[in-house]
């Protein structure tokens, strides 16, 4: 190939074409990010108006000094997210291990049932939870939210850990037993470290889903136990407060930081296994 040919090839690769895939790319990016940019921009807007009048940090100040109801909701969200994700991770991992390696009656039935909360519409799950709790006379509140979140988080943990277990060679456990480990020791020294990436991604996924859930939480919440999404929704009914915009900005930054930390963390684990 002659030199000018190569140059022409490079030029062609660098040219942006008006092809279908490029147009789709622009559309997708536009719809994904424009709302976020708008929210971020308005969080620095002086007035509540929909046109930009001047730069200010007053909404951030208000967010951190004068929004106790918001922070109470945030604490609720965090508390529920932590507890439900940890519970779901423990239960889901144990379920995955049990179903993978132990033979018992109704094993197949349990596998299909455990995916139900994942595939059912959230409204159905929410309504049935509500009916269930009220028929048992359980007061709606943080506890019921915790139970509900654990329920819908469980299948995700189960799925992720099961996938990891499928790659795990059972004779590794026999090797551990063979070398003198008891059943418990082989669980903690061999099985759990090997499937740890699956367990951790299950945990992270649970935290995220619990933090953002609206529909199911809406059905099972009680007076004074609003989570952050519910609180934000209730505020928006009285017009968009720029404080919410400021909160959005904080959440966007926080999520990006978390995603970055998780990615590099999971990468180190993956590199070590």
């Amino acid at each position: 190939m002659k030199e000018h040919d190569i140059e022409r090839l490079h030029a062609r690769n660098n040219q942006v074409h008006l092809s279908f895939s490029n147009i789709m790319l622009v559309f997708v990016l536009f719809f994904l990010f424009i709302p976020l940019i708008v929210v971020v921009t308005y969080s620095f807007n002086e007035t509540k108006e929909m046109n930009f009048t001047g730069f200010t940090l007053q909404w951030y100040k208000k967010l951190f000094t004068d929004s106790s109801a918001l922070w109470a909701a945030f604490t609720n969200s965090l508390l529920v997210a932590m507890l439900s994700s940890i519970t779901a991770t423990i239960l889901g991992s144990m379920a995955a291990i049990g179903i993978k390696w132990y033979q018992f009656k109704a094993r197949k039935a349990i596998i299909s049932v455990s995916y139900l909360p994942m595939v059912l519409p959230e409204v159905i799950v929410g309504v049935s939870m509500l009916i269930f709790f009220s028929s048992l006379n359980i007061n709606l509140g943080l506890f019921t939210i915790y139970i509900a979140h654990t329920t819908f988080n469980l299948p995700f943990v189960f799925l992720l850990v099961s996938a990891r277990l499928d790659e795990f060679d059972y004779s590794t456990i026999e090797a551990a037993r063979d070398l003198g480990a008891t059943e418990t020791q082989s669980l903690f020294k061999v099985v759990i470290p090997s499937i740890l990436p699956g367990i951790l991604s299950g945990l992270l996924m649970s935290v995220t889903m619990s933090l953002e859930d609206f529909v199911i939480t809406f059905f099972v919440t009680g007076a004074g136990s609003d989570t952050l999404p519910l609180y934000v929704y209730s505020q928006i009914r009285y017009g968009v407060s720029p404080v919410i915009n400021a909160l959005s900005m904080i959440v966007i930054l926080g999520t990006m930081a978390l995603a970055w930390v998780c990615k590099s963390f999971l990468k180190t684990i993956a590199a070590n296994s």
Binding site: D169, T172, E174, R177, D178, L179, G180, Q185, S194
Partner: protein, 398 residues
């Protein structure tokens, strides 16, 4: 790669008496008697009894599904028989869990711990026993040197080749100082050349550590080349236990004769017998060979008995002229070479006899000092073998 392994094998075994691991380990005999194990309707083991002497290299040989791995798993403690008994050194150990038996296993899939380095894999058993750091370190390095993995100590199993993984598995099992080492088709995942080298190495390690090796394989050439004794299994039963020589030269049943090596196999009927040297000379009617054959046997055979007559292809002499030897009783047949198969150091000929039956012949290629012209397709030849080279199979159908 392969070159390197050959070099290392020689280097390792010559330099380090007892493989550099100190002393030969203690060992004991293993006896399984009347063991039966069924999975649903499938009988994996059907009244199996084997006795394995202390310190020997014992192979369980058979096709897949013959029960050999099940027997090994019962000895290791991963499976439990429905009936029968298992003793180590005369003591019944069926109730002991795997971690309490002084045996260790090399698994077919290596079963290394994926999250641990080579070092930590090998140190696993010692760490469980809460040995001191210095003791662990000193011992791990000794075994690392024994399996020649010094350059790979801090790698993860995923960074190793198949042969290296196998060496880690060997070191990890032997560091535990087992009295018996169980090997479950340890070489089946490796390529043919590497397999041969590792097999020789395993044999040397066996000589160095001096413990009983129980080796499960479906590869008859592996079993023949390293074992002290072989148990040939099929369909959950032990068909024959013997030295490699006995198994090959005097197979007890039809299955053993056909599974070990290659053979010409024909149904036969005993006609008569007479004393001959220390043995008996049996005359048997073999319809496929078109008449009677002479065959020696250790026992007198009752005339009229239905048996099978078999002769190994390499025992058959093939020549364009009739072969005679005055002091030998020889069976000779004439035929035509139907299919010569050249494979380098040897050739295989399918010779169609005048009566239509086929005799397989293996001929080693020697050199031009070897007399006689090359045998080619459609050549008219004589196949012959001595009465001592054929044998009778009395147990047919299994």
């Amino acid at each position: 790669m392969t070159q390197e392994i050959i070099f290392r094998t020689i280097h390792c075994t010559n330099d380090l008496p007892y493989g550099g691991i100190g002393k030969p380990l203690n060992t004991f005999p293993v006896a399984a008697s009347h063991i039966t194990r069924a999975f649903g309707d499938f009988k994996a083991l059907d009244d199996v009894s084997v006795t394995i002497n202390a310190g020997e290299f014992f192979s369980l040989l058979g096709p897949s599904g013959c029960g050999k791995t099940t027997l090994l798993r019962i000895i290791a403690g991963f499976d439990y028989p429905d009936s029968g008994s298992l003793t180590f050194d005369g003591k019944d150990i069926l109730d002991l869990p795997p971690e309490k038996r002084h045996v260790n296993t090399i698994f077919q899939t290596y079963a290394l711990f994926p999250h641990l380095s080579v070092y930590d894999n090998i140190a696993f058993a010692l760490k469980l026993k809460k040995r001191s750091k210095e003791e662990i370190d000193e011992k791990v390095w000794r075994f690392v040197r024994m399996v020649q993995l010094e350059d790979h100590v801090f790698k993860k199993p995923s960074q190793l080749s198949g042969g290296q993984k196998q060496r880690v598995a060997i070191a990890r099992a032997l560091i535990n100082e087992p009295n018996v080492l169980l090997l479950d088709e340890p070489l089946s995942a490796l390529d043919a050349k590497l397999r041969q080298n590792l097999l020789v190495e395993l044999d040397k390690i066996h000589d160095q550590v001096g413990i009983t090796f129980i080796y499960v394989t479906h590869d008859q050439s592996e079993a023949l080349s390293v074992s002290d004794h072989i148990a040939v299994m099929n369909k959950g039963k032990v068909l024959q236990i013997g030295t490699p020589y006995e198994i090959y030269e005097a197979p007890a049943t039809e299955f053993v004769a056909k599974f070990i090596g290659e053979t010409n196999y024909y149904p036969a009927t005993v006609v008569s017998f007479e004393s001959y040297k220390d043995e008996y000379l049996v005359k048997a009617l073999v319809p496929e060979l078109g008449g009677e054959v002479l065959v020696t046997d250790f026992e007198p055979q009752e005339p009229g008995k239905e048996v099978a007559y078999t002769v190994r292809p390499e025992k058959v002499h093939i020549a364009t002229e009739l072969h005679t030897k005055a002091d030998r009783l020889i069976n000779s047949y004439s035929g035509v070479v139907e299919e010569p198969v050249y494979s380098g150091f040897q050739s295989k000929y399918f010779v169609k006899l005048d009566n239509g039956s086929t005799v397989k012949v293996l001929k080693q290629h020697e050199n031009y000092m070897d007399d006689g012209p090359d045998i080619e397709w459609k050549d008219h030849v004589y196949v012959s073998w001595s009465a001592e080279d054929g044998f009778l199979i009395k147990e047919m159908g299994q």
